[in-house]
Amino acid sequence: MVKQYLLGNEAIAHACIEAGIDFASGYPGTPSSEVIDTLRAQKKREFYIEWSVNEKVALENALAASWCGQRSMVTMKHVGLNVAADPLMTSAYTGAKGGFVILSADDPYAHSSQNEQDTRRYAHFAKLPCMNPSSVQEAHDMMKDAFALSEKVGLPVLFRPTTRVCHSKGDVDLGEVSEEHRTGVFEKDPKQYVVIPAHTRALHKKLNEKQPMVRKAVMDLGYNTAEVRGETAVVASGIAASYVQEVIPDGVSFMKVGCFPIDGAWMEKFVQQHKKVLVVEEGAPVVEERLRQLACGVEVFGQMNGAVPMEGELSPAAVAASMVKAGILKESPFQSPAPAEGLPPRPPILCAGCGHRATFYAMKRVFPDGIFPSDIGCYTLGLQLGTVDTTICMGASVTVGSGIANSGEKRPVVATIGDSTFLHTGIQGLINAVYNGADMTLVILDNRITAMTGHQPNPNTGETAMGEASVPISLETICRACGASFVETVDPYDLTATLEALKAAKARKGTKVVIARQACVITARRAGVRRAHFRVDPETCTACGACLRFGCPALGKDAEGKANINELCSGCGVCAEICPAGAIVKEGRK
């Protein structure tokens, strides 16, 4: 056994290798992405990996591998599970053969997400077991057990780490890498795999009949623990359990629910030994609801009566505050010093030289009264540039755009979507917009990669997750096949050409597509692209501030208000095109 200091997601990936994983698929999404990225980075790799085009596609691929007897896993973030919900629900009926784990990472506090939904709800909904680790070590141990659990119960197993587990680090005890691997063999069994009504009714009954066995198998893993220490108890699930352990006073009982479904008899016995119980969990009150069904007469504190916050994430201080509300602690051991006020915020911003910034700048110039539906990616940061008016979920830029256009709204609609997001769920929206005559422009912000989540390849990149070359898809061909008659590709660093293409799109009726293609500035740098930096000629600069409003972090100003360019400059040259005085020039030129 070796001990390493690992990120939660790295520990989870290592557990997969210890379990002898054969097949991994997924769609990147914070905080889940590093699991597959870690698997990809293994020098010795005897398993298949793919970054799929979306979560539904990923789940179906991994499910099929499981049906062929392989140990398989699919990874995604919580909202990805909505996309994959269709196969998820029925995969509980067909079941799994090789151990099949569905990792869906939740993001309480929505650090980088559009909502705070709870994957444990899906587990309950689909009647599937779910594991909810409380630490990096437990995430590792549970993931290793998840494959065997799946095989034992014949069902997919949901695995729900949260941001503070995925992106936690800790000293982790690791096991041996497994040498055992399985080659897929599909055995035909229509009653199991063809869910026509006659079959599916029987499969549903079978799933229901399995539940007592599932509850027992889950309990047998030993992740659900309880210790009676007094008349008052705290019950916790997930990372909240580690916060509880930090602050729980002596003489207060502690129950930890690591795996679902909960064995009602086990929980009832514990609850009935107490007069008062506080339930602490992030996300939905999943444990609390079950516990309240069993509590008859026992006083319960939790989210449902305001003792625990119903949104956001917890912390040791938040848990202490809940204990104070429940009368378990007299006062919180934590101070709460006031943060400094009046500091200018420092939100994440598009990189210096990011092509998206140039495209947004051109859009604002050509469509000063435009409505800008956008999507999920780095470019959502265009909010700060005033070119993101809506985001709701992956692919919704096109559809929200066509909806606004067809609602009678008279102002021009210009939607933006990244290449990966377009391939994820944007194409259907484009077909729908073109076919139904939506008068709008779709700008595909094509940086050749899935950048925001850590530069994962997609079918537009020309490389698979296995590192093999593959023919990149043609976005132009796809858009034309969707029926768009105006499809123009521009380099956003060429501001003049981008402005012209947008003006041409504006002059036409119907659904127009402009593809703004420029490699992500980070991947370009890694690939060795070096461009000469730009500088400001202080004698020519009129201190008008036009370049500063472009919002590039490479641009600043001196005490006189004259612009200067710092070492972040990547040489894109767009600011030189913007400067009305011609004061920005390439290094080495006069």
């Binding site: 001990k3 390493q4 200091y5 990120l7 914070t30 905080p31 992405s33 590093e34 650090h111 980088s112 630490s135 990096v136 503070r164 995925c166 992106h167 936690s168 680090k169 800790g170 000293d171 990372i239 580690s242 916060y243 352990q245 930090e246 912390s315 040791p316 201080a317 934590f334 101070q335 709460s336 010093p337 006031a338 943060p339 400094a340 009046g342 500091l343 200018p344 915020p345 420092r346 939100p347 994440p348 911003i349 598009l350 990189c351 780095c378 940061l381 700060q384 950048a451 925001m452 989540t453 850590g454 501030g545 500063l548 409003r549 919002g551 590039c552 972090p553 641009l555 600043g556 070492e567």
Partner: protein, 192 residues
């Protein structure tokens, strides 16, 4: 068991994660438990980032406001932004430089002066470090994070040799000498 809680703050891209990894590796070398958590994903570049490190930690990874023993700040303004995480006696090792955020230009917000930022840290023991100057002396501006780690070394409950060994394990061979020079120069600055 109570842990020694360290907060590393800065701007995405400055190398807070490497600094936390070096401390983690040093803990493994000394057999000390460690927990931590950091900002990942969603193109954090240019944004304010924080990394929690709990040396001797056996519970969760999060440090509570008012609970940190030490803060390493790679940017002066970020030190002020996270100051409330420190215990009243908590020490600050801070880079004597701040990057002006684009929000100052885009939203026309006032930018605090350097002396006002330093004044806002009053009450805590503060070590101001010329990270850029020392990194340049070591050979490359890129190692400012290791300079800052070196400056914090005398305050950490870890042996300097463990931290040096951790640097050796984690940094690519061709940049090793550069990083060790940066660490040594930082350590010198942290002692004065």
């Amino acid at each position: 068991m109570s842990s020694y809680d360290l907060l590393i703050v800065g701007i995405g891209g400055q190398g807070t994660i490497l600094a936390s990894n070096i401390i983690g590796e040093a803990c493994l070398l000394e057999g000390v438990p460690i927990k931590g958590v950091e900002t990942h994903g969603m193109a954090q570049r240019g944004g304010s980032v924080e990394s929690h490190v709990r040396i001797g930690g056996t519970f969760g990874p999060l440090i509570s406001p008012g609970g940190a023993d030490l803060m390493i700040a790679l940017d002066l303004m970020e030190a002020v932004r996270y100051r409330h995480y420190l215990k009243p006696e908590g020490r600050i090792i801070v880079n004597d430089h701040t990057v002006v955020p684009t929000s100052v230009f885009m939203q026309k917000l006032p930018m605090p002066a350097r002396d006002d930022l330093v004044a806002a840290l009053e009450g805590h023991p503060v070590t101001l470090v010329d990270a850029a100057g020392l990194a340049a002396e070591a050979g490359n501006l890129i190692v400012q994070n290791v300079v800052m780690l070196g400056a914090a070394a005398p305050s950490l409950p870890l042996k300097a040799e463990s931290l040096e060994e951790a640097v050796t394990r984690l940094v690519p061979q061709k940049f090793l000498d550069l990083n060790l020079r940066a660490f040594a120069l930082g350590r010198e600055a942290g002692r004065s």
